[in-house]
């Protein structure tokens, strides 16, 4: 199953459950509160997922390591390498 199909499957499953409860399609005579809670659920889910995404990406951008040390080490090694290679007769 491709990821696309997995997603379609998941979304339709959730959608079906949501419709069943919100519109009481099976005439289960669910309490009114169930229907009231279920009805705006998709919007809540969407908004909370959006917030979660923004927060996660924001946090990860803020904590993205800046590898100053690595850059400095590399600069040093480049010098060392150039000297050594020149000694070994490399013409750059």
């Amino acid at each position: 199953m491709t990821k696309l199909l997995e997603w379609l499957f998941g979304v339709s499953l959730v959608g079906a459950v949501w419709a069943l409860v919100s519109f009481d399609l099976l005439d289960l005579s669910l309490p009114q509160t169930y229907r009231e809670v279920a009805w705006p659920m998709p919007l809540y889910l969407l908004v909370s997922f959006g917030c979660y995404s923004l927060a996660t990406v924001g946090y990860r951008v803020a904590t993205f390591n800046d590898c100053e040390e690595a850059a400095k080490e590399l600069q040093g090694q480049i010098k060392e390498a150039k000297e050594d290679l020149r000694r070994r007769g490399l013409k750059m």
Binding site: T2, K3, L4, W7, S53, T56, V57, R60, V61, F64, N65, D66, C67, E68, A70, A71, L74, Q75, Q77, I78, A81, K82, D84, L85, R88, G89, L90, K91, M92
Partner: protein, 250 residues
């Protein structure tokens, strides 16, 4: 750790590591990356060979490679040039045909991937007998150097999106510093159809699909000092296209 101090701790190992270095206009970088590879392989004692796949670089990368071959020996530096620029994906395939190692390293020749991480890749691979070990900029001590806020944001955003959509089981999809078992790389390359940038993404997504095991090693990615990036440009467009393709086909 103590064993590291002895001169050639891993010399008796049966394993051999072939490093594929695709180059296009890397005259300045190639000697440096080779020097670093020789240094770290020399210190850790693993058996290795470096395969340079140059695509007819007009800047004379191949001449420099020939000089390096004289310095370090034909058993250590192998040249597998091609006449013209045919792209990164086919460069790997071309290089692999000539690899004699049972493990293959893929890395960029522009010094953004530092050979100091190679012993960590190898240890990680042995630790879990992983089929593939992928370098990651996004976890642990991994990171980047020379990136502004905008680039970090795009990178993290794109990464988050692909994690959500593809759930690939690896944190760095677009990184290209990886260690593969030879047979695993063979079978992956056979299946991967993407070009350029998306190739790396497809490789790891297919690996997960085929139930290969993946280990990760945090790496620091330092933007190239010499020369310029050949991909660049419409990177975002090709990323989105690749993401959608992989989403629909894997």
């Amino acid at each position: 750790m103590a064993s590291r101090k002895t001169s050639h701790p891993n010399r008796d190992s049966e394993d051999k590591y072939s490093i594929l270095l695709p180059t296009y206009n890397e005259r300045e970088n190639l000697p440096l990356i080779v020097w670093l590879l020789v240094k770290y392989f020399g210190e850790s004692g693993y058996n290795y060979e470096i395969i340079v796949i140059d695509d007819g670089s007009p800047d004379g990368t191949l001449e420099v490679a020939e000089q390096l071959q004289k310095i370090y020996g034909e058993d250590k530096i192998l040249l597998r040039p091609r006449a013209k620029k045919l792209g990164l994906g086919t460069a790997y395939i071309h290089g692999m045909k000539h690899a004699t190692g049972n493990f293959i390293f893929i890395m960029d020749a522009d010094l953004s991937h530092h050979p100091k991480f190679i012993p960590e890749f190898i240890e990680k691979q042995k630790e879990g007998n992983y089929d593939l070990v992928s370098g990651t900029r996004y976890q642990g001590s991994g990171g980047v150097y020379g990136w502004d806020l905008r680039r970090k944001l795009i990178s993290r955003g794109a990464n988050f999106l692909s994690q959500v959509l593809l759930r690939p089981g690896a944190s760095d999809l677009t990184g290209s510093f990886r260690l593969y078992k030879k047979a695993v790389l063979d079978s992956l390359v056979e299946r991967c159809v993407s070009k350029g940038y998306v190739f790396q993404m497809e490789m790891i997504v297919r690996a997960r699909q085929l139930n290969y095991t993946i280990g990760e090693v945090p790496i620091s990615f330092v933007d190239r000092v010499y020369g310029e990036s050949k991909l660049g440009g419409n990177e975002i467009v090709s990323f989105v296209k690749g993401l959608i393709t992989l989403f629909a086909t894997t």
